[in-house]
Amino acid sequence: MLYQHHGKNYCFTGDYNEYFNDYLDVDAIAYLSIANLLAKRINPGAILIAEDVSGFPGLCRPMEEGGVGFGFRLSMAIPDMWIKLLK
């Protein structure tokens, strides 16, 4: 939901230009930021985990730093790689 291309036929190597371009769904990023703020307001101890393959920079940084405000990232690319290896 972070990108309008949904990661389809798109490769992330860590270059910032791959993340911050016109494909970014800015409304989705704004929603996630508000969602994390709200969740923390309802329950300050809430564990907020982002499931993200791309490694979006700042996803787990606080909003004051320009981040999206998640506490953790479930890096799905790694378990996906395990499945591939085992197969």
Binding site: M1, D27, Y31, I42
Partner: protein
């Protein structure tokens, strides 16, 4: 929900039979998948249709609450998978085409279809979408 037999188990079965074992093994948190109602079992809970209802094949809302309470009583935290990235495309059961249009909660046209997941893509610029999803967070927490 998982169990010993090859069948779909319930929240209650999990609470009574699996949770004590998880506690005994020393885990401090568990993530439960597919808690939100989803018509297609094979979607593993990712094709959500009714965001404010519990997955009925596993039990009732009270069954789920009892499971959460039992886990908290064992000092085990519960994490659920709240899928706000997309929604089931089912029209009869879900929120797709709820008002007859394809753009009430989603992007209209091809932009509203997820190219890999066979689902509908939310339009997060819509005020009602934000209200819907944010109130959903409040509901589950």
């Amino acid at each position: 929900m998982s169990g010993n037999e090859e069948k779909v188990h319930s929240f209650t079965y999990f609470k009574n039979n699996v949770l004590p074992r998880i506690k005994k093994l020393g885990y401090k948190a568990i993530q439960i998948m597919g808690v939100i109602e989803h018509p297609y079992y094979g979607s593993f809970g990712y094709h959500c249709s009714n965001f404010f209802s519990i997955s009925s094949r596993f039990g009732t809302p009270n069954d789920f609450k009892a499971l959460v309470d039992a886990a908290h009583g064992m000092d085990i935290k519960i994490v659920i998978d709240l899928v706000h990235s997309h929604a089931a495309r089912n029209v009869n059961e879900g929120i797709n085409m709820w008002d007859g249009t394809d753009y009430q909660y989603f992007h209209g046209g091809e932009k509203g279809n997820h190219p890999l997941w066979d689902s509908r893509v939310f339009d997060y610029s819509k005020y009602e979408v934000l209200k819907f999803l944010l109130s959903n967070i409040r509901f589950w927490l």
